[in-house]
């Protein structure tokens, strides 16, 4: 299993994702430079967190034009696994690989805190190691993570089961109080219709070791790794 981690100028979760993949998961790691239009044979491409190109215009608005993104789109079209985390989710929305947009948090402030997420799909490569409606504890760190989509898009997402995780309380109840950023329908992560492109605001790479406060993030990394094994076996 080879994970590719894209590095835009201004990306900072690249090293954290790399650390988890290489040091915790023990999988193969390949950094992918934004100027290189080459995914170097990766099985899963991660678009990590950060402020790509400074995000001074609009989050992800410039990153979508990077040479590497053309290859990421092609890869996604072929069914390759693409995983956008935080800024990566924003880039995927800007690139049109996922619907909707991430706007400023309802509080108008940056939020770095732990959140609870209820997992609504476990049939995906990204979540196969999670239990049905499992509540994961994963931190967020963003100023613009407020998921927004027009009503038609929202109902399509809901009908097709494309909402993968929602902010919830520790008991799994999806409440206003548990919503850290004002996201519509408490949406924390969505997947495309085909199920191979996931975008999520929370940071699984920040909670893959007990000393960092929890290991729920590792379940997602392990899911991806296991999905590759399945492909090999089948």
């Amino acid at each position: 299993m080879r994970f590719g981690v894209v590095v835009f100028p201004g990306t900072w979760s690249d090293r954290d994702c790399g650390w988890v993949i290489d040091q915790v998961l023990g999988a193969e790691l390949q950094y992918l430079w934004h100027k290189d239009a080459d995914l170097k044979g990766c099985d899963c491409v991660i678009l990590p967190g950060g402020f790509a190109y400074g995000d001074y215009l609009r989050t992800g608005a410039i990153a979508r034009f990077a040479p590497v993104m053309e290859k990421v789109s092609e890869f996604a079209d072929r069914g390759g696994l693409v995983w956008g985390i935080c800024n990566g989710f924003q880039v995927l929305c800007e690139a049109g690989l996922l619907p909707g947009a991430l706007i400023r948090n309802a509080s108008l402030e940056y939020r770095c805190q732990w959140t609870n997420l209820v997992v609504e799909r476990t049939d995906l490569a990204f979540t196969s190691q999670c239990a049905e409606r499992e509540v994961l504890s994963i931190p967020i760190g963003h100023g613009e993570g407020n998921y927004f989509a027009d009503p038609a898009t929202l109902s399509r997402l809901e009908q097709r089961g494309q909402v993968v995780m929602r902010y919830c309380d520790s008991g799994g109840r999806v409440t206003n109080n548990a919503n850290p950023n004002g996201s519509t329908h408490n949406i924390a992560g969505i997947v495309n219709a085909r199920g191979n492109v996931l975008g999520m605001m929370p940071h699984p790479e920040r909670c893959s070791e007990a000393e960092l406060g929890g290991t729920d993030g590792l379940k997602l990394f392990r899911s991806v790794a296991a999905s590759a094994m399945q492909v090999l076996v089948s």
Binding site: P9, W12, G54
Partner: protein, 725 residues
């Protein structure tokens, strides 16, 4: 002789001007005058504080770089060095809070990068006037710190925020950065090697921030807002690219040195780099400096404080290698001159001469100011017997926890990314934060501390208490203190009582740092923190401290961990109400003497807590500080989400009830441990001659002192977390 008006513009005195003419044996030209003005400013030259700063201990077995470089460095073992420094950005933050704070963060990060280290943590020590009048300062500064730190991807893990009338017009913003570098990769900003190239990298040079250093060396007045152009604008994205490119420089050995461009821009960075090498000089061609705008004169180029720039000294002939590294990050780099051996800074504009000054005159020529200190008027005494007795400790606790100086800081630190880097093993909110050193078991504990009310009441003692409390913050995590970086904030030293405060403060710091064996490896002095003579800040010597634990698995948090644990007070309590939060909040009095401090005793208690932590006896440890025992105990409960049940406190005379609950005697900790560990702790305590006393048992969802008060943890949390921020 230039006119006085021009001298005032460059913040030089007529005496200083005469010294310049005497040394040069000619009058300086306009550019030279500007260059000398910024480098001789208090901010750059330390002309009022230099003599005092020499008193601070700066050596120790772990120290590998003391003061005089971009940052200090200590050896933490396994081939790693911790690099750190704290610096003020008070004046810019007073005028333009967001950019002032943001560029303060950006500047301190570059200091750490210049040492070849990767920054791993930021801390911010903040002081504001009372809310709500200060809210535009608070909001701007917090947003600016977050705006810069969050974007660049360095976790902001700690610091402090205090409110007091004395900061109403002069908020303090002190930013600290900690980095890691392999010991054999530690860089020094020395312009070695005649003929080596000087490369300017990063942002283009604009007209922003001209005379920022001089501005920082004046009192604020009603015209200060007109100096807004002297405040720079930060670009954290650019600095992120600069950071990564500088880290990539480690792949080449073509780089001799890296130097941050901070206050006084190109002038100071080139002069300082050259000054560190005997006889070295530099020749700069301003025509080769990439510019942001047209029409800039050599004066502008030499004095610009445009952010996100670095000076790199490169081996002659290898410039292309370095250029390629910066090019990969889409950063501009330009060779703007070279190292010489003539001991002068020569500036040309193409073929036209612009300036030529001896390096030693620039960096060391400012005549030390001989200031006289006169003891300040003794602050009001405290007649403790006249205080009304404590009526309801529970009600007092709620009021104290809801007060601006003691309430939860979560509203602030949740706006800072404190997790990026995957290294934060103790998050903000407790005593010290801790970062693991990836690839090892080492943990670095980091904190800042200063109770300036104590320093106001007794600067000598207050400074010692600041060092002791910073050390207790470190000890409470199970780490041992390694070294200090200090940010010394004072009012106008021309006033004899302020200079006296400086003398006393620095003497106190020196005494405590020696006694606790924590050398001062870097720091910064910020003077003139007063406004038109009306309000002066309390002396505020912020102590940034770094500590080390050999295995972070042994780290301790402040919060209670298990129901049924014994909760103990380590150390003894006295009638220490002078300068306390209790006195301020409950009686609206700032008076008396700060608590007495016995540094030998302090050390004994540190040894006991560290031994207990190292032996795995403890489940938690928390420093008793502002608000005293009961506030500390409540914090243990709130952070752990576990209540406590205690027998009534019956203090033995002469100890008063209010002092037992809320007195601020130093050298105390609250610890929790399983009952089975008690015998071993008791014998350790006897061996270290330290008093320990059982407060109660952890458990439940209330804090109760039998027959005295009982409060639900939820209500206490409500008071503590309130909505101050």
């Amino acid at each position: 002789m230039v006119d006085e008006r021009r001298l005032r513009e460059v913040a030089l005195t007529p005496e200083e001007y005469r010294a310049i003419v005497e040394e040069l044996k000619r009058a300086p030209n306009e550019v030279e005058l500007g260059m000398l003005g910024v480098l001789w400013s208090e901010h750059c030259s330390y002309k009022s504080s230099k003599a005092l700063l020499r008193r601070l201990p700066s050596t120790g077995s772990a120290v590998i770089q003391g003061p005089g470089e971009n940052a200090g460095a200590v050896n933490i073992g396994e081939g790693w060095a911790a690099v750190f420094k704290i610096e003020s950005h008070n004046h810019p933050s007073a005028i333009e809070p967001y950019q002032g704070a943001a560029t303060g963060v950006g500047g301190i990060i570059r200091d750490v990068i210049a040492m070849g280290a990767r920054p791993i943590a930021l801390l911010d020590s903040l002081r504001f006037g009372p809310q709500p009048a200060s809210s535009h300062h608070v909001e701007g500064v917090v947003a600016g710190i977050g705006g810069y730190g969050n974007c660049i991807g360095i976790p902001t893990v700690g610091g402090e925020v205090y409110f007091d009338d004395c900061y109403a017009n002069n908020p303090l913003v002190n930013a600290m950065c900690v980095g890691l570098v392999r010991v054999d990769r530690l860089m020094r900003a020395r312009a070695e090697g005649t003929g080596n190239s000087l490369m300017l990298v990063g942002a283009d040079t604009g007209r922003d921030g001209i005379h920022g250093a001089s501005f920082a060396s004046l009192e604020l007045d009603e015209t200060s807002s007109e100096r807004r152009p002297a405040v720079q604008v930060g670009n954290p994205f650019l600095e992120k690219c600069l950071l990564e490119a500088c880290m990539d420089l480690a792949h080449t050995d073509a780089v001799v040195a890296i130097q941050d461009l901070g206050a006084a821009g190109l002038t100071s960075s080139v002069a300082e780099c050259a000054a560190r090498v005997n006889g070295a000089g530099a020749r700069i061609d301003v025509a080769r400096v990439p510019r942001r705008e047209r029409g800039m004169s050599p004066y502008h180029v030499m004095l610009s404080e445009s952010q996100e720039r670095m000076l790199v000294v490169v081996e002659r002939g290898r410039e292309a290698e370095v250029e390629a590294i910066f090019e990969a990050w889409d950063l501009t780099s330009a060779v703007i001159g070279h190292v010489t051996d003539d001991g002068h800074l020569t500036v040309v504009d193409g073929s036209a001469p612009v300036a030529r000054l001896p390096i030693s005159l620039l960096t060391d020529g400012a005549p030390p100011r001989r200031l006289v200190g006169v003891a300040a008027e003794q602050p009001p005494g405290l007649d403790i017997d006249a205080l009304p007795p404590l009526v309801d400790p529970g009600a007092s606790l709620l009021r104290l926890l809801a007060s601006p100086n003691l309430s939860s800081r979560r509203g602030i630190f949740r706006r800072y990314d404190h997790m990026v880097g995957d290294a934060t093993v103790i998050p903000p909110g407790g005593d010290a934060a801790m970062l693991r050193v990836k690839g090892t078991r080492l943990g670095l504990a980091v904190t800042t501390d200063c109770n300036s009310r104590y320093c106001h009441l007794d600067p000598h003692l207050g400074a010692q208490l600041a060092v002791a409390e910073a050390a207790r913050n470190i000890i409470a995590t199970g780490a041992h203190p390694l070294a200090v970086t200090d940010c010394l904030n004072f009012a106008n030293p021309d006033r004899p009582e302020v200079y006296w405060e400086m003398e006393e403060t620095i003497a106190g710091l020196a005494h405590a740092c020696r006694a606790l064996d924590v050398p001062v490896v870097s720091g910064n002095v910020s003077l003139y923190n007063d406004s038109s003579g009306t309000s002066a800040i309390y002396p505020t010597p912020v102590v940034g401290m770094v500590g080390l634990i050999d295995d972070y698995a042994k780290r301790l948090g402040a919060g209670l961990r298990a129901e049924g644990d014994f909760v103990l007070l380590i150390g003894s309590s006295h009638n220490d109400l002078g300068g306390s939060e209790y006195l301020k909040v409950e009686h609206d009095v700032v008076a008396g003497r700060p608590p007495a401090l016995d540094l030998a005793r302090e050390r004994a208690i540190h040894r006991l807590v560290l031994a207990a932590a190292d032996n795995g006896l403890l489940h938690s440890a928390h420093d008793c500080a502002e608000g005293g025992m009961l506030v500390a105990l409540a914090e243990c409960c709130l952070l752990g989400g576990i209540g406590v049940r205690c027998p009534a406190i019956r203090p033995e005379a002469p100890l008063r009830m209010d002092a037992a609950f809320f007195g601020e005697s130093p050298s105390r900790f609250i610890v929790s441990l399983p009952s089975r560990a008690m015998p071993e702790l008791q014998s350790l305590a006897r061996r270290h001659h330290v008093e320990i006393s059982l407060l109660g048992l952890a458990g439940g969802e209330t804090i109760e002192f039998e027959g005295q008060f009982r409060l639900a943890l939820a209500d206490i949390r409500q008071a503590w977390e309130g909505d101050i921020f």
